[in-house]
């Protein structure tokens, strides 16, 4: 157990211990850098994870109040639950399904590839795939991604069998059990997947990569990490030169603490990260930290999602085995003749009866709804994940009318679909229905987007300071020792599940920070 003093101003303070923060912490510790890792949630383990949806949700999820606005349906059905993300050591890497897809080359150059799209603020990333590739390779090795580094693919479950056969029948050619950060055989002192079917509830096998039992214990072994669970950060402070120098947080007993810092890296996921920067406003930074261009909180993206579920005559038992058991990539390519720019992936998904009831058609009741529940064992399902358009008006703001228990304004999440998102979702629904009908579905169902699991882009990377919040290394354009280290950095959303890219950026950012510390650039 390493403990740094509150007055130690040589430490890097990282806020959030998920894919971004947890990885950054370990990478820095491996390089000998002293790290204080502040995590709002408690520490669980594979032993304490719960194979039951609602109890697990209470254990892992971020349930603190947030508010919503906009025309998205989540604002009506789940007005205080815009996002389905975690508050626990390991963050949302406890809950994620494990899909680990590299961006396509053009997804780093959305503006150049798609051209201007009316109503969207497309922008090219200040980094390219070529620059990212070596870091992607390191991330895949670290995470044990299947079909990379000689790790075999996972065996497909029943839900995948239905998807695969339907895919073939409608002419798709890119369908397999994909690239998953789930051990298909024991690797890196972690067990292999036993097909529990509770990927979303924290993997009790530890087969699915999570910073909770990989990066964080590895960092602890270096003796450089001081992990402080139950620490809710209130604000980041700065000196009179405008450099951040301390983080004020409520500790697990609710007592306010102030940790000095040489560098601060924010990785609280794309809602809490901008909220914290906005809540840290001061006389010198009246609009919040790093917000000189007014871009903090803007361009909130959540991926164009939705699900297609189908009932069959014969049983499927889709809840058995990995949740994202398979993927179809035929629609991820940029083919504007479909009536929209960008593309989408189709991935199997399953829900237990508890979540099925809550999310199949929120608010529904009566026999039409219950007749679907009665077919539970005969269902197959897929989730759609596609690139959504960055819009300035989709944003995180402070809701001054609603305060958390420490008196800080909560985040309001505003989202309206862009016409491109609507066209893409419609296309995906039609294709998903076609796929299941091709294998004789009795009935197909369009399921609306769940509260957001992929929250992206609220502190985006940009080549020019006026277009975003941070540069290609996640470094604030305005404050050189302030870093954004999570999915908030995404300039555009791409159509890929974001975790692999967040981890990749964290590895790359750790190199940058360690070098800058050495050369005293920060």
């Amino acid at each position: 157990m390493t403990n740094y003093t509150f007055d130690d101003d040589s430490v890097v303070v990282i806020i959030g211990s998920g894919a971004g923060g947890g990885t950054l912490a370990n990478e820095l510790c491996q390089k000998g850098v002293s790290v204080v890792l502040l995590e709002a949630g408690a520490r669980q383990s594979t032993a304490t994870f719960i194979n039951d949806e609602w109890p697990s949700f209470s254990q892992l999820s971020w349930g603190d109040t947030r508010t919503t606005s906009g025309s998205w349906r989540v604002a009506k059905d789940f007005p205080n639950l815009p996002a389905w993300i975690c508050k626990t050591v390991g963050g949302t890497t406890t809950h994620w399904a494990g899909a680990s897809l590299r961006f396509q080359e053009h997804e780093f150059r959305a503006l150049q590839t798609y051209g201007e799209v009316k109503g969207a603020n497309l922008l090219d990333w200040p980094v390219t795939l070529a620059e990212m590739e070596p870091y992607y390779a390191r991330a895949e090795d670290k995470m044990g991604v299947t079909r990379t580094n000689n790790v075999p693919g996972l065996p497909g479950n029943n839900n995948f069998k239905v998807m695969y056969n339907g895919a073939k029948k409608i002419g798709y050619t890119e369908c397999s059990t994909g690239h998953m950060a789930i051990n298909s055989k024991p690797r890196a002192d972690r067990a292999s997947c036993q097909q529990l079917g509770f990927c979303f509830q924290g993997c009790k096998m530890g087969a699915k990569w999570s910073t909770l039992y990989t990066e964080i214990p590895a960092a602890e072994l270096t003796g450089k990490l001081d992990l402080r669970p139950g620490s809710q950060v209130i604000r980041i402070e700065h000196d009179d030169k405008g450099r951040v120098n301390a983080v004020v947080y409520a500790d697990s007993a609710g007592v306010m603490q102030r940790q000095k810092a040489r560098v601060v890296a924010v990785a609280g996921n794309s809602i809490e990260t901008p909220r914290l920067l906005l809540n840290s406003s001061s006389a010198m930074f009246p609009q919040g930290l790093g917000n000189g261009a007014g871009m903090v909180g803007k361009h909130y993206m959540r991926h164009t999602t939705g699900s297609v579920f189908a009932e069959f005559k014969e049983p499927v038992h889709f809840y058995r085995g990995t949740i994202m058991a398979g993927i179809i990539s035929d629609e991820i390519h940029h083919k504007p003749d479909r009536g929209f720019v960008g593309g989408y992936e189709m991935e199997t998904v399953s829900l237990g009866p508890s979540f099925m009831a809550a999310f199949f058609n929120p608010g529904a009741w009566g026999r039409e709804f219950t007749s679907v529940m009665d077919q539970y064992t005969h269902m197959a399902g897929m989730w759609i994940v596609g690139e959504d358009m960055p819009q300035e008006s989709n944003r995180i703001t402070l809701n001054d009318g609603v305060k958390d228990r420490f008196g800080m304004p909560v985040a309001n999440v505003h989202y309206d679909d862009h016409p491109n998102d609507v066209a893409m979702r419609e296309h995906a629904f039609v294709q998903g229905e076609k796929l299941y009908n091709a294998v004789d579905a009795v009935k197909v169902h369009r399921v609306p987007p769940y509260p957001s699991t992929h929250n992206l882009g609220t502190c985006r990377m940009s080549a020019k300071a006026q277009d975003g919040v941070c540069n290609g290394h996640g470094q604030s354009h305005e404050i050189p020792n302030l870093f954004i280290s999570d999915g908030s950095q995404f300039t555009t959303s791409a159509g890929e599940n974001p975790t692999l890219t967040i981890v990749t950026m964290a590895i790359r950012q750790a190199e940058f920070i360690a070098d800058a510390l050495k050369t005293r650039a920060i």
């Binding site: 029943n158 369908c175 097909q195 529990l196 079917g197 608010g363 009741w365």
Partner: protein
């Protein structure tokens, strides 16, 4: 001390009712689990009459004809817990039930099912219905009895997952080729 007295008085008054039932489907998945065919649910705040009326409302909102009342009772229990935390909830529930009777021009519970549902449709945007539906959707489908009813196998870790227990046992479609879906034991 005051709290203690209050609790004691409430206990002596027996303000919480009892919900009783008998399993109807003697060979159903739930009867196989249950130690006996009769069941009882103790409520801490709602009276027995309110409890049994609520149970029927929930059955009409989420009708599963072969699902035992014992499963619906979990949602009544959840509403009772809400009511014991917040007195306004108990009032809302009682009012909501009285309102159903008023709209029925007698006892709502005695109307035929389609008429009961028509009245529920009339109140579906109100607070009473939202509360009952919202609490029920998160409890009715989230308990061991419901899991058994729907054929869901629940927690899998204690049983070693599904690797050896049918994760890929679907036989009505051909198996994907090995490059798409490798053999689990290769």
């Amino acid at each position: 001390m005051t709290d203690l007295k209050l609790d004691r008085r409430r206990f002596l008054q027996g303000s919480g009712g009892l919900l009783l039932g008998t399993l109807l489907f003697g060979s159903g998945p739930i009867a196989l689990l249950a130690p006996s065919r009769t069941w009882a649910l103790e409520m801490s705040t709602l009276d027995s009459d309110t409890g049994s009326r609520l149970l029927l409302v929930i059955r009409r909102i989420f009708p599963h004809d072969t699902m035992e009342d014992a499963v619906y009772a979990f949602s009544v229990k959840a509403l009772d817990e809400r009511a014991s935390q917040d007195p306004s909830v108990a009032a809302l529930l009682k009012q909501g039930i009285a309102d159903l009777d008023q709209r029925a021009g007698g006892e709502w519970a005695k109307l035929p099912e389609d008429k009961q549902v028509d009245i529920l449709k009339d109140v579906q945007t109100g607070d009473f219905f939202s509360l009952v539906r919202g609490v029920s959707v998160n409890t009715l489908y989230s308990n061991e009895l419901a899991y058994n009813h729907f054929g869901y196998e629940g927690a899998s870790f204690p049983k070693g997952g599904y690797l050896m227990r049918g994760f890929n046992d679907l036989k009505w479609l051909p198996n994907p080729p090995l490059d798409a879906s490798p053999n689990p034991f290769a």
